[in-house]
């Protein structure tokens, strides 16, 4: 009995020693790197290990259905879903370059007005597109499909592709509902849609409301399947994450994964440069909208043009970003509160309480993730900056915004400090944490 108590006491003693040793080494490793406790707590929040479980998408009851994701992957890579049979989602979201396309303005059947953002980890965001004009991943997927410059097609055309493809039709009807009889061309014209040219629009409005809803439902299910696939695209751990893990586990040797300049850059990132205020959390984004005074390439005065001529010149409308985006989201037939959403009214808090005022939305664009940022140039919503050095220079000076008010304050960092931040950003690169078979056309 006594021996047992002594044995238990010894076990407790050694357990305490082990816990203390871990704490000592964690503190030691962090101290060796010069991080305070509050900085370490902040760094932990940026660590990929802090990424929570992917939240459910109440707007899409197929969001976590593996069969829907498999179908969605097929649709994502299928060129037939376009006006010319040459454009798929993967045309602008190329897996080999981390689901971006390397262009300032993406190219589908024409030139888009903005750059295609990457989609790794995008399912964590409550808003989609640079201006947040969609409040669900599936409704985002539908936007480019009917855009005249991206896929260029329409919902009637896409419904017919599924109807006419025996494999797709079987999968679709197994997942969703039986397809209506689309062989009746008078009832279901080939190119009828509420978008595009006048003829398509007229044909669309000649259809009965029931038939229009039947076609739209197929279109919506296409989006929901694509979203189910996109929800599987998760980020993988980078050198930065290995560094934080080494700090947290108290392995001083593990912290050598970052160079001195990269660590200095990280210190600036969470400190003097204040990058972390918006690029916050394990995805390095708060998913919010901010006006950072990014120049508008469409309305910028060319160097060869005198100011007077520029003032008199016809210019494209100014891109007001989120100010227009939130209005479009509220009016969208595919928003959270709409009949095609599977959500309950109380699930739509983001839409219900979104800021709709011009203050805080005018000229604001979505904060992008910084994971893999060094591999996804060019930068900003229309690729205004070709290099990260240009981006950092912009943030350092915080020029006046062309529309709205720039929220940035001049950083006045030295050249060397900017280089260190850029060096740190290189540590955020990593391949996605996705099975290889999900990264190619099935």
């Amino acid at each position: 009995m006594q021996a047992s108590i002594i044995g238990k006491s010894c076990t407790v003693f050694w357990a305490c020693c082990l816990v203390f040793s871990c704490l000592v080494y964690t503190a030691q490793a962090a101290q060796d790197q010069g991080w305070s406790e509050s900085e370490l707590a902040l760094l932990r929040l940026q660590w990929l290990g802090s990424l929570p479980e992917l939240p459910p998408d109440p707007t899409n009851k197929y969001a976590d259905n593996p069969a829907a994701a498999e179908f969605g992957q097929k649709l994502f890579f299928d060129n037939r879903f376009s006006a010319n049979g040459k454009v798929a989602c993967a045309t602008c979201h190329i897996p080999e370059i981390l689901f971006t396309d390397g262009l300032s303005k993406s190219r589908g059947v024409g030139e888009a007005s903005r750059s295609a953002p990457g989609i790794i980890g995008v399912a964590f965001s409550p808003w989609f597109f640079w201006d947040g004009r969609s409040d669900s991943l599936w409704s985002q997927a539908l936007g480019p499909l009917e855009s005249g410059v991206e896929h260029g097609g329409n919902r009637s055309q896409y419904a017919r592709i599924i109807y006419n493809d025996p494999v797709y039709r079987k999968v679709y009807e197994g997942l969703f509902d039986p397809l209506p009889d689309l062989s009746d061309i008078r009832r279901f014209p080939e190119n009828a849609a509420p978008v595009g040219d006048q003829a398509s629009d007229e044909k669309w409005h000649e259809m009965s409301e029931t038939d229009r809803k039947a076609i739209t439902r197929i279109f919506v299910n296409i989006g929901k399947a694509i979203a189910a696939y996109e929800r599987l695209l998760m980020p993988g751990p980078s050198r930065f994450d290995m560094y934080i893990e080494a700090l947290l586990e108290g392995e001083p040797t593990g912290t050598k994964v970052l160079t001195a300049d990269e660590v200095a850059g990280l210190r600036l990132f969470i400190g003097k440069a204040m990058c972390v205020t918006c690029h916050q959390g394990p995805l390095f984004t708060n998913h919010g909208f901010h006006n950072v005074g990014a120049p508008d390439s469409a309305t910028k005065r060319p160097k060869y043009m005198l100011p007077l001529f520029y003032v008199l010149k016809d210019k494209p409308p100014v891109d007001v970003g989120r100010f227009k985006g939130i209005q479009q989201a509220l009016e969208s037939e595919f928003n959270c509160l709409n009949e095609y959403s599977d959500a309950k009214k109380e699930d739509c808090a983001e839409l219900k309480f979104a800021n709709k005022k011009y203050t805080g939305t005018l000229g604001a664009f979505k904060v992008p993730t910084l994971r893999n940022i060094t591999k996804t140039a060019p930068y900003m919503h229309t690729g205004q900056f070709k290099s990260l050095a240009d981006v950092l220079k912009h943030y350092n000076t915080a020029p006046r915004a062309h529309v709205g008010r720039n929220e940035l304050l001049p950083l006045n960092l030295k050249e060397k400090e900017l280089e260190q931040i850029e060096a740190f950003l290189h540590s955020l690169s990593s391949p996605p944490d996705v099975a290889t078979e999900l990264l190619r056309n099935p």
Binding site: T359, G360, E407
Partner: protein, 141 residues
């Protein structure tokens, strides 16, 4: 000598661990800003309690706001509006919160979201009968 160094390390570790636990507790108390956190204006005594504690960063959530007169009587049928933002970044709230009365001086504030680290100012404009007043809470993440 080596033994003393090891002992020192354990002591440092123990102190840091204790310090860390203490700091976390203080921060959590700061962030929860429970009903003990009150602000007085000329006319009202106001407190709030978040339905999610500690206050969540970057997540829509609700508060219960309690409004009393300065002599401790609950204020009913008040019209309350919310505004605020981050003074350091010269921007407002990322959401448009709504306030509805629950009763006994309690008001439900829905749609609050703090999307960035730093200091937020949250103002409540309270109108009860002929009396109007403003109350500010400072929130830090």
């Amino acid at each position: 000598m080596e033994y003393i160094t090891k002992l020192k390390r354990y002591l440092v570790g123990f102190s840091l661990a204790t310090g860390l636990c203490f700091t976390v507790a203080v921060n959590a108390a700061d962030q929860s800003q429970d009903s003990a956190t009150t602000t007085d204006s000329i006319h009202f005594h106001v407190s709030y309690k978040s339905k999610v504690e500690p206050l969540p960063l970057n997540r829509i959530h609700s508060w219960i706001l309690h409004v009393d007169t300065l002599d401790g009587k609950p204020v009913e049928k008040a019209v309350i509006t919310v505004f605020g933002g981050m003074p350091a970044h010269t921007h407002g709230l990322p959401t448009e919160p709504e306030v509805t009365e629950i009763g006994d001086g309690d008001y439900l504030v829905e749609g609050l979201k703090f999307s960035m680290t730093g200091i937020w100012h949250l103002w409540f404009n309270i109108r009860a009968g002929d009396v109007t007043d403003k109350i500010k809470f400072d929130i830090e993440f």
